[in-house]
Structures are given as structure tokens and as C-alpha cells.
Symmetry: C2
Subunit: 365 residues, 2 copies
DNA sequence: ATGAAAGCGCTAACAA
DNA sequence: TTGTTAGCGCTTTCAT
């Protein structure tokens, strides 16, 4: 009697649900339709061993017929979510869109789906959001999160970091060789005869000496090269925000000052674009002041911009990050670091140092 | 005896798990620590009514102390996932990054997390991936998915589409007024004396007449304006891919032909950038051939580009889409459509039509 | 090779 | 206001 009652209730619930919205097809429905157990269906959708060909075809037929789609939430509770998370700080930065493209391509044909969480601040909350969603693996581009925090995170989930020079224990890294890239930039400018070279970079937060971020390395390499060339007294570091507008404003100040530079090495292309805009608006035609960027984003090669820049091969980074992540998810435990050697693309934004008017600041070396 | 046995087993399992990786803190752990029931904790984390202040503080203390984070998967199985999905076709398109920024800002302070799924083809699979992940609401920018399919989808989940001119029954839309925007473009060019105006747009797939995509509307409006102005015979539509390079190649062909246009209306800024690059490389200085884009992306205002373009207010679209989605999730059922009136930004890429050499093609009207 | 059954962490309906 | 309890849909032993 009790049973009958419960069955009735159950039925009513089901019916009323069906009236409003069609209840999603579950693994149980498929099992029933194929005349097998739920476990069998589970094995089929996971490509697990121990299923006869006959069963496989029967089950697949039922899946197709019913339009069954496994609930990721339910799968995540027991096994995998088949989801890889990518955390990125800013979408305005074209370099990151290259990384995304590479990652997406590398995932083609795998059962994994890429989801991207845009960060707001330092990246902790976006990474946590992805972890909360039980991603099976995580790629992040946050230069600001603490290595120790990452190590702890990476004990519980596979992690690959992009753009970190850390020597990590529990996670992998994919990074461009910022020292080599920056040395190429400086060699190029010095060879063109520049002495007053300024470096426009992002805020203190991402360029703090010793913080091992890409921008910190670029800054340090800039400084070293200036020292080595004997131009230590011309070292000029301008810290600004991360957008074109920030760079624009800072550049306007920079060129308004006495002893203005003859060349500007910008921390990335987005900044360089802002620098170029400021120079143009200030009436300084093309390489009157030379400008170099970093990332070789698509717009750098545009004739109206023609920006000398360092190609970091963002797509390769994205692909490589996915490959390493999948390896790690398959069981590799020892950390790997993959460094790409970037390549300088020389364009019209750089040219020989323009000699300053005679007599002005003649003590200069 | 049976009980004792099960307790032992349970304990063993727990212990061995703890040896390998620290088992995540569950709602049960919090309940135990706070000396309350799981239901009480559940109510606290959901801000549900019916909890005393005393209990709330006790529970929150326990949550903080244990570092508890609810499992999204488990929550999704019973209630909400607190996740909103955004499907977008291409990251190269800067307009979409504006939309993302707007959406992310609008979500600040809500309990919802935005996750983005990059589409590969038409968008079906990325949207399905998000639905499989039980997002509580969905925003999509797929011009190519079938309205009927969307209607069915929207019966089961809250949906807002960006950039669709559909009259929908079950979902909302946020869209720019492409007719108005395109009319502004054409009025501007015609007023400058242009007659041979070409339209460079994306592939047939997204511009098919009657398909009600933004690009179809822009194309149709272009054609109408040409008819109205009496220049029907100068109508020239160039369909190409969606990248700068595609536009570059098509433009090279276009200007190599006889009767080349004096102005080009590009379907969006990314194409316009490619058009400008081709013109520059072909030695045609700035407004010798006028160019107009659509989206007013950041680079359009750069002095080296200075592209006349239509501002679609992508950030506003993103914010509005989130607002409408949240409304819908709260229960609104009747469909809404929100149309933004775009605005033409005139820059140096457009100028008066350059008179052609006398005697050449003098029958021209 | 196949199936039965336990339970992942949470919420919702109900009982107290 | 608080606690009890029944699952959500799936995977995973463990029998068969």
C-alpha cells in the first residue's frame, strides 16, 4: 500500500513535469530503450573496455534515437567533467586571442571542451570559479597569483601556466624566452645608433623586480642592455596601465620632457599602438622616434602601423599548453617547462637614430 | 553489527583518500563543524530565507574556517549552477571583446560566473556544450543557428541572442539597428560624391538574402541605397572570408579590375583593416579610395588607420544582454528585443570622390 | 561481457 | 526556525 502510493506520486510528478517542459533524456532512458543496464550505457559513452560490439551498436542507436546527452554535472560528481578551463586576464590583448585559437585547435577531436573564464583582478577568483566547476584541467595566464598558492592548487588538479618563469614542482609552464626576445629588441635599437631608449611597461604590480613575470624580465633585460652598452644614465622606465590609452597618455608626457628618447621599447603591442598614436598626434612622423612592441599581433604588420615587434607565437603556446595539460592529466607528475624562442620582426616603426640639433645637450655620450 | 561494519569500511576509505589528496570539504563537514544540519548550511550559502542571524554567523564562521567551496556539479544536479554561458564565434573580432567586457561588468556583484565557449563552426556544438554544463542562462552570438532550433532550446533554458533580427517567441534579442547604421554609411559616402561604391562582406553563409543576419541587413541596405541613388548599375558586392587577409586579397582583385570603385563599405572593421592594408600596399594613399568599416573597434581611431566606422556600442550590448537574461531567469516569459541605434564616426579614411581622368568611361552617370 | 547497487554533494519538500 | 530525508544522473566496484 505504501509502495503503491509512492509510485502514484512519482507518476504524477513525472506527468506534471512533462506538461511544462520535456524532461531531459537520462542514461536510464537509453538503457531501457536499448534493453541493457545503465552501466553498459556508461561504458559505451566513455569508450570504456568490456563492451561487445553488438551492445555498442545497440546502445549507440538508442542514444541517437533519443537524442541523449550525458549530464556533465552528474558525470563530474563521479568521474570527469570533460571540461578544460582557461583563465585569461584581458580580452583586449590580441596575443591572448592567439593563445585561445591555438588551444581550441589542439582540442579538436578530443572529448574535452574548452571554457574560458575572464578574470577581473589578479585571477584568483576566476581560477577558483573554474576549479569549483570541476574542470579536469586548467590553463591560466595570471602573472600575479602566488607560486605557493598555485603549487597547492596543482596538487589537486592538473595545471599549466602560460607566461610564468617559475621553477614549479606541481605544474607545467609554457613561456616565451623574454630575455632573448628583449635582447633582440635592444640589439636592434642599439645597432641603429639609439642611446636614449625608454621602456614603456605596465604597472609596478606586474613588473616588480624579481617577480619573474614576463614584463619583469623584459624590464630587467632592458636595463642590463643599457648598462652593457654604457648608456646607464639614459635608462628611463615609464610604468603605465595596460591599454592603448594609458600608453598614449604616458607617451605624451614622455616626449614633452627634456631629454626625450629617440626610441621606445614598449612592453607589448597594445602599449606600442598607444605610443605610436601619441607620436603621430604629436606630429612626429614614423621613425623619428623608433618604436618596438612585443607580441607581433596582427595589426603590427598593417601598413598604417608597421610596428617592429617580437613574435611570441601565441598559437603555438596555446597548442603546447593543451598538449602538456593532457599529458599531465594522463598521469605525468614531473614538471615540465617549455620555452619558445621568440623572433624579432623588423618593420618601419624603427629606423636610425635621428641626430639631435647640434649644440643641444652636447655632453651626451 | 552490520552498522559497525559499514562504519569501519567508510572510515578506511576516508583514511586512504586522505593519504593521497586532501578530500575536498563538503557541506556535511561544515554542518558538523557548526553543529547544524546540512539544510541549514545550504540555506546560508544560498541566502535563502528562514535562517536566524545566530545560525548564519555560526555557519559562515565554519565555512571560512574550513575553506569550504560548494561543488558546482552537485548544486547543478538539484538547483542552479550559478553559471551563465556565452558562446562566441571568433575572438579575432574586437567587437566581441567589447561585448564580453560589458557582460563581465554587468555580472559583477551577482552570484553568477560567466564562462565563454569559443565556437568553431556554426555554433551548435559550443552552445550544446554550455547547455550540457547546465548553465542557468545562455547568451549566444551565432548568426547561423536555426531560429526553430533556438526556440526549442529556449523552452528549456533562458536565452538571449546578440545580433539577431529574429522575431522570437521564447528568447530575447539584443541587436544593433543595422539598417540605420548602414544608411548612415551610405548617406555619408553618397554625400561625398561617390557613385561607384563597393560592398565587401563575409561569405554567402552569413549574408544570404532574407537570412536576417546583421551582414545580410547591411548588404540589403547597401543595395537599396544604391538603387535609391540611381546607381544600381554600380552595385558591386564582394564576398570574402572573415579575416583581414581575406579582405586584403579580395581588395587587391577588386582594385585591379576595370571600373574600380571610389569607395568601399566593409561589413566590419576587421575586413576594413584588410581593405586599408591592400590599398596602402597598392600605393593608393588615404582617401583616394574611401573606406568605411563597422564596429568602431579601438584601432579604428588610431592615427595610422583613422577609419570611418559605425559604433555599435558592444559593451552596452553585453551589459544589456546580461540584464535581460537575469530578468528572464527571474521569470519573465514574454520575449523582448532591444535595438541599439548605432552611430557613424567619421575619420580620415573617407573623403570626397576623386574625379577620374577625363574621357575614361565618360558614359558614366 | 553484463548487471545490480551504492553513493558522489547538494537542494527541496516536508516534519518537527 | 531548524532538521530529516529522498533523490538529481551518473560512475564504479563487485557479482554474476
Amino acid at each position: 500500500m505504501l509502495y503503491a502510493c509512492r509510485v502514484l506520486e512519482r507518476k504524477e510528478t513525472t506527468l506534471s513535469t512533462e506538461l511544462s517542459r520535456p524532461r531531459p533524456v537520462t542514461i536510464q532512458d537509453v538503457a531501457r530503450a536499448a534493453g541493457v543496464s545503465r552501466a553498459a550505457v556508461s561504458k559505451v559513452i566513455r569508450d570504456a573496455p568490456g563492451v561487445s560490439t553488438a551492445m555498442r551498436t545497440r546502445v549507440n542507436a538508442a542514444i541517437d534515437e533519443l537524442g541523449y546527452r550525458p549530464s556533465v554535472a552528474a558525470r563530474a560528481m563521479r568521474g570527469a567533467s570533460y571540461t578544460l578551463g582557461l583563465e585569461i586576464p584581458r580580452f583586449g590583448n590580441q596575443f591572448l586571442t592567439q593563445v585561445i585559437d591555438g588551444a581550441r585547435d589542439a582540442l579538436e577531436g578530443t572529448p574535452y571542451q574548452l571554457v574560458i573564464a575572464p578574470a577581473h583582478g589578479e585571477g584568483y577568483s576566476a581560477i577558483e570559479a573554474l576549479v569549483d566547476r570541476q574542470v579536469d584541467g586548467l590553463i591560466a595566464v595570471s602573472p600575479l597569483v602566488e607560486p605557493a598558492w598555485l603549487e597547492r592548487l596543482a596538487e589537486r588538479i592538473s595545471v599549466v601556466m602560460i607566461g610564468r618563469h617559475d621553477r614549479a614542482r606541481n605544474y607545467d609552464t609554457v613561456v616565451g624566452d623574454d630575455v632573448s626576445g628583449s635582447r633582440e629588441v635592444m640589439a636592434h635599437l642599439l645597432q641603429l645608433g639609439h642611446r636614449r631608449i625608454a621602456h614603456v611597461t605596465e604597472s609596478e604590480a606586474v613588473t616588480a623586480p624579481g617577480s619573474r613575470t614576463p614584463h619583469a624580465f623584459r624590464l630587467e633585460t632592458y636595463t642590463e642592455c643599457m648598462f652593457e652598452a654604457g648608456y646607464a644614465k639614459h635608462i628611463k622606465v615609464v610604468r603605465t596601465g595596460s591599454t592603448e590609452d594609458d600608453a598614449y597618455r604616458s607617451t605624451m608626457e614622455l616626449i614633452g620632457a627634456r631629454d626625450r628618447p629617440t626610441a621606445i621599447f614598449a612592453g607589448h603591442d597594445q602599449l606600442a599602438i598607444g605610443v605610436l598614436a601619441a607620436l603621430a598626434d604629436a606630429g612626429l612622423s614614423a621613425p623619428e622616434i623608433s618604436v618596438v612592441g612585443y607580441d607581433n599581433t596582427r595589426i603590427a604588420s598593417h601598413p598604417g602601423i608597421s610596428l617592429t615587434s617580437v613574435d611570441q607565437f601565441g598559437e603555438v603556446m596555446g597548442r603546447k599548453a593543451i598538449a602538456m595539460l593532457l599529458e599531465r592529466m594522463r598521469g605525468r607528475a614531473e614538471p615540465r617547462g617549455y620555452a619558445l624562442t621568440p623572433q624579432l620582426r623588423i618593420r618601419r616603426s624603427t629606423g636610425p637614430a635621428v641626430p639631435r640639433p647640434v649644440g643641444l645637450d652636447h655632453t651626451d655620450d
